[in-house]
């Protein structure tokens, strides 16, 4: 493998990953339906909770955040398992002897699962805003954009995490390690300014914080704010960084 990028080989790889996904009908169905179903459960949980005067509706706040967190979690898991299978089946070693470069391979995965994430986000956001009456002050298309960028971050971190997993058991356990601290610190459970200073500093370094902040910006502002664009840029930058690190940790010569 070289490090030179080839759009043709990236596209071929993305097509191959999507074809693999296409043969697995149940996974496709789960990818499309699962986040909407979970969000529906959340909707029912909050259905009878009264909204105190002057406060935002709890489901609007939590449901909107979930539109970023759910695709992140799903794509992280799916990608880390897919990459681990590539490793254990010997196909990765074989790919490393072909003209495909490491960035081509990882970008191919990113593009394929990014597309899957877009389909998922379209379904989930459509169901949430029409079926569950989720109120968003800003443009719904921005919610979709943030969900997709956050899902791509999940893909990139999944690719990176799979490099450190020797088995499926390990890969699955990376999920809580990567996801839960980001979830606890992202500002949904406790507003970030009420966190201890050091935890707030940690949360400043976690990309999920920016995804959630971007969603809250869209939720409360009718126009796209500069803060929101910066947040999206930070999440996209973190995804690129993770992809770069994943490419760097992919060793061609192994023992």
């Amino acid at each position: 493998m070289t490090t030179a990028l080839s759009p043709r080989l990236t596209t071929a790889t993305a097509g191959r990953v999507l074809r693999q996904l296409g043969h697995d009908h149940r996974t496709v169905a789960m990818l499309l339906v699962l986040p909407s179903a979970l969000l529906g459960l959340l909707y029912l949980v909050y259905a009878d909770v009264p909204t105190p005067p002057g406060q935002a509706d709890a489901f609007d706040r939590i449901g909107l955040t979930m539109l970023g967190i759910l695709p992140f979690v799903v794509m992280f898991l799916v990608t880390s398992i897919a990459m681990l299978r590539e490793r254990t089946s010997g196909t990765l070693e074989r790919l490393l002897t072909t003209p495909l470069s490491r960035p081509d391979l990882l970008l191919g995965y990113g593009a394929a699962f990014g597309l899957a994430a877009t389909a998922q986000a379209l379904v989930t956001v459509a169901v949430a805003t029409t079926g569950y009456g989720l109120d968003v002050a800003g443009a719904v298309v921005l919610v979709v954009l943030i969900a997709v960028v956050t899902a791509v971050l999940g893909v990139a971190l999944g690719l990176l995490a799979s490099a450190f997993a020797r088995s499926e058991f390990q890969a699955v356990q990376f999920m809580p390690v990567i996801v839960l601290p980001q979830f606890f610190l992202c500002g949904l459970l406790v507003p970030r300014d009420q966190l201890p200073d050091w935890l707030q500093a940690v949360s400043d370094l976690l990309p999920m914080t920016y995804a959630v902040d971007a969603l809250q910006e869209v939720g409360s502002s009718t126009t796209a704010t500069g803060t929101m664009w910066i947040d999206i840029g930070v999440v996209a930058g973190a995804a690129l960084l993770a992809l770069g690190l994943a490419a760097a940790t992919l060793r061609r010569r192994t023992n």
């Binding site: 080989l9 191959r16 074809r19 196909t91 002897t97 072909t98 003209p99």
Partner: protein, 240 residues
């Protein structure tokens, strides 16, 4: 003519264990070279070093005039691992077309490679629904489609019925006649006689680098299995 592969003083460690001990050999171009030896003798490790995915401790491997694993070699060298490394959740055709795309070839080349390994009738089947032998051939097609100058095949005939095995060996020779260099490993000695040249490995050491005829005359037996045993006995009598 220059050798297609030159291995010089190659030492490979796996963990604390040394699996190749200063191995040196050459592979002639346009021939079928057999890499023979019992399981665990270092055949796969040597092949991985030739295709450039094995970490080596010392020594050198030169392939088609370049250091093994060079970027430039990746479109010229085909590698088929011992376990079929194809995507089980894709059809044969989808697998071969993907590898065809990686080598810059089209769908027609992919279909030809599938026909070459006798899988034309199974092209639309998922690899996970194929028999072990068919999977191995699907894996082979993914390497053939690149029309490599050097083809490295790790135990390609394991689990195949005798008829298919003979067919594959004649295919290997047809490829060699067309100019392709092949390195084929096997742990069955009756395949040794089908090779133009033989490298015998045992416990990470090269016992012999010769033609089957030379090996027979050197050991005074027509049976290559017996010849291998004779060589083992000779090396053990004279400790290095």
């Amino acid at each position: 003519m220059d050798a297609a592969v030159t291995v010089t003083d190659l030492v490979v460690h796996r963990g604390a264990r040394r699996v190749l001990h200063e191995v040196g050999c050459t592979v002639p171009p346009g021939r079928v070279t057999g890499l023979l030896g019992p399981s665990g003798s270092g055949k796969s490790t040597l092949m991985r070093a030739i295709v450039g995915v094995q970490q080596v401790r010392s020594g050198s491997v030169t392939v088609l005039g370049r250091p093994a694993g060079s970027a430039e070699l990746r479109s010229r060298v085909g590698y088929v691992t011992q376990a079929p490394s194809v995507y089980a959740d894709l059809t044969v055709r989808e697998n071969v077309r993907y590898f065809a795309a990686l080598y810059g070839r089209g769908a027609a080349a992919a279909d030809a490679a599938i026909a070459d390994v006798g899988l034309a009738d199974a092209a639309g089947q998922l690899v996970e629904d194929l028999s072990g032998g068919q999977r191995g051939r699907a894996s082979l097609a993914c390497a053939l489609v690149g029309e490599p100058e050097l083809l490295v095949l790790d135990e390609p005939t394991v689990g195949l019925d005798p008829v298919l095995r003979v067919e594959l060996w004649s295919r290997f020779h047809a490829l060699a006649d067309a100019g392709t260099t092949l390195v084929v490993s096997s742990h069955v000695m009756d395949e040794a006689g089908r090779c133009d040249r033989l490298l015998l490995l045992r416990e990470g050491r090269l016992l012999s680098d010769s033609t089957p005829a030379e090996l027979r005359s050197r050991t005074g037996t027509d049976d290559l299995e017996e010849a291998f045993l004779t060589l083992v006995r000779r090396t053990e009598e004279v400790p290095a």
